[in-house]
């Protein structure tokens, strides 16, 4: 799992955001921006422009709708629900972009000419995982990304994805199997 120095978001921070406090919003943005961006980045096949656009939409929705967050769910679950909806909506609106092959975009964003050998090996591994991930249908891609980047529980993922816990478990299971099989094919070729 990714480990991060995640800043604790308190009820006070959220209240301040509701009052329009830009500093509080910045604190909230800083706490989650890399995770949100990473999920968008890998969801949109490594397309950094789409990821930046998606991330901006997520935080714009967050600040516009924060009055609707009643605190009955964990804040991060609510945020990831916005991420999920935004990714699905943006992909629907930009089908042409979504249809770009993973390979061409990933090469742009992950390969770093001139880096050390170790970095190159790591980039190569990341490239193959990204390529395999990109080949998965989005309904399997999203649960895997939510699980990996914020280690959400099944229940939290079910709320974020708007489906049942059983569906989350089965999509994760199938997603993992499909990912392993695609990776095996990629690495064997």
């Amino acid at each position: 799992m990714v480990s991060l120095n995640r800043r604790e978001i308190t009820d006070d921070t959220i209240d301040a955001c509701r009052r329009g406090d830009r500093e509080a919003f910045r604190a909230l943005y800083d706490a989650y921006k890399d995770k949100v961006y990473s999920i968008c980045f890998y969801y949109f096949h490594g397309d950094s422009a789409a990821a930046a656009d998606g991330t901006q939409q997520v935080f714009l929705k967050l600040i516009t709708n924060i009055g609707q967050f009643r605190g009955t769910a964990d804040f991060s679950t609510w945020l990831y629900r916005l991420v999920t909806n935004t990714c699905v909506d943006e992909a629907r609106l930009t089908r042409a972009r979504d249809a770009r092959t993973a390979k061409e975009v990933v090469l742009d964003s992950l390969a770093r000419p001139g880096s050390q050998e170790e970095d190159l090996v790591r980039a190569e591994r990341a490239r193959s995982v990204q390529e395999a991930l990109s080949a998965l249908p989005s309904k399997f891609r999203l649960p895997l990304l939510l699980r990996y980047f914020d280690d959400l529980s099944y229940e939290e993922m079910a709320v974020a994805l708007g489906c049942s816990m059983g569906t989350v478990a089965s999509r994760l299971s199938r997603g993992h199997r499909m990912l392993a099989s695609k990776l095996e094919a990629l690495r064997g070729s």
């Binding site: 949100v36 930046a52 714009l60 929705k61 995982v129 990996y148 994760l172 993992h176 392993a180």
Partner: protein
């Protein structure tokens, strides 16, 4: 290639680096906020589409307002008669009826009915059953089962549908299940699809498909057991939970457990102390090794995150 029942792993995803969000996003965000920009909606329509769409939407709104005005705004659920003559309040249902918050639906020995739970599912009400509609809101759908048997089938995100009984609350996590309560307010839950969380006074039992859980008046939910578990294990669990079965019951449970029965053992971890907890833990790791990264000491200290993580790994075997 992963084989059936082999633990799936996040390992390949570990090769994906966290990507730092570029600074330009915050700058664009501030500009958007300063300009009063709104986020994009779910759908964007071009000029030729939005005008007729607006007309249609207006007609729908007017029709909706009219419909609500003639039917009243009080939340209520539709009920269909399946057999005999069920009643809502004291009124018998002919073919269909409507149930308001606070009203009881009652069936006798020869009647059955089905309740439509808003738009998220249905509840079949068996004979000799008494059930009340507590809350009918889009964010909370709640029934109270006083006596009898219901079969619920709900397709919704977790924690939208609840069934209260005198000794537990069944919290739907997206599932199908049967719940029954007798006149002594003892009951049982049997899950056929998905998961149900059975909760009462801080005690919680998570019941997956294929498993059941008993509840007892003033004691709350017991420990979940798979329906295909050994009879000796099922009897020992009942004795342990409700009959002061103690050590002898625990010995039987540990001896009769299969890999799948780590469901029962996982719940027992928090329901026994000291040396008994260590015995349960040792039996669990003999059946299914503890996943990499989990610290045994934290399991024994009942660290919530560690227990949750282990449960979710074990769930692949349940």
């Amino acid at each position: 290639m992963l084989r059936k029942h082999q633990l799936p792993s996040d390992e390949p995803l570990r090769d994906l680096p966290l990507v730092e969000a570029p600074d330009s996003i915050w700058i664009s965000l501030e500009n958007a906020l300063d300009a009063g920009e709104k986020p994009r909606g779910r759908h964007r329509f071009g000029f030729p589409i939005w005008q007729p769409a607006l007309v249609v939407a207006s007609l729908v709104v007017v029709a909706g307002v009219y419909w609500r005005s003639i039917r009243g705004t009080e939340p209520q659920w539709n009920v269909d008669r399946l057999a005999g003559i069920p009643s809502i309040g004291s009124e018998p249902i002919d073919r269909t009826g409507r149930m308001k918050e606070g009203q009881w639906l009652e069936t006798d020995a020869s009647s059955r009915a089905v309740i439509h739970v808003g738009t998220i599912g249905t509840v079949q009400v068996d004979s000799n059953t008494r059930v009340r509609l507590v809350t009918a809101r889009s964010t909370e759908h709640r029934l109270a089962l006083a006596r009898g048997r219901i079969m619920a089938s709900v397709t919704a995100p977790p924690r939208l549908f609840f069934v209260n009984t005198a000794s537990s609350t069944a919290v739907d996590l997206g599932c199908a299940y049967t719940m029954q309560i007798d006149d002594a307010e003892n009951g049982s839950l049997q899950v056929t699809l998905g998961w149900v969380s059975l909760e009462w006074s801080g005690r919680k039992s998570l019941v997956p498909a294929g498993a059941s859980c008993q509840t007892r008046h003033k004691l709350g939910p017991g420990t979940p057991v798979f329906d295909d578990a050994a009879g000796s294990l099922k009897r020992a669990v009942t004795a342990f939970d409700f009959e002061k079965g103690g050590l002898s019951a625990l010995d039987t449970i540990l001896a009769a457990s299969r890999v799948r029965d780590t469901l029962t053992l996982w719940h027992l971890l928090a329901r026994v102390d000291g040396n008994d907890r260590l015995r349960v833990y040792n039996r669990m790791i003999a059946l299914a090794p503890i996943p990499n990264g989990l610290v045994p000491a934290k399991v024994l200290q009942l660290d919530p995150q560690t227990l949750q993580r282990w449960r979710e790994e074990l769930a692949w075997k349940w």
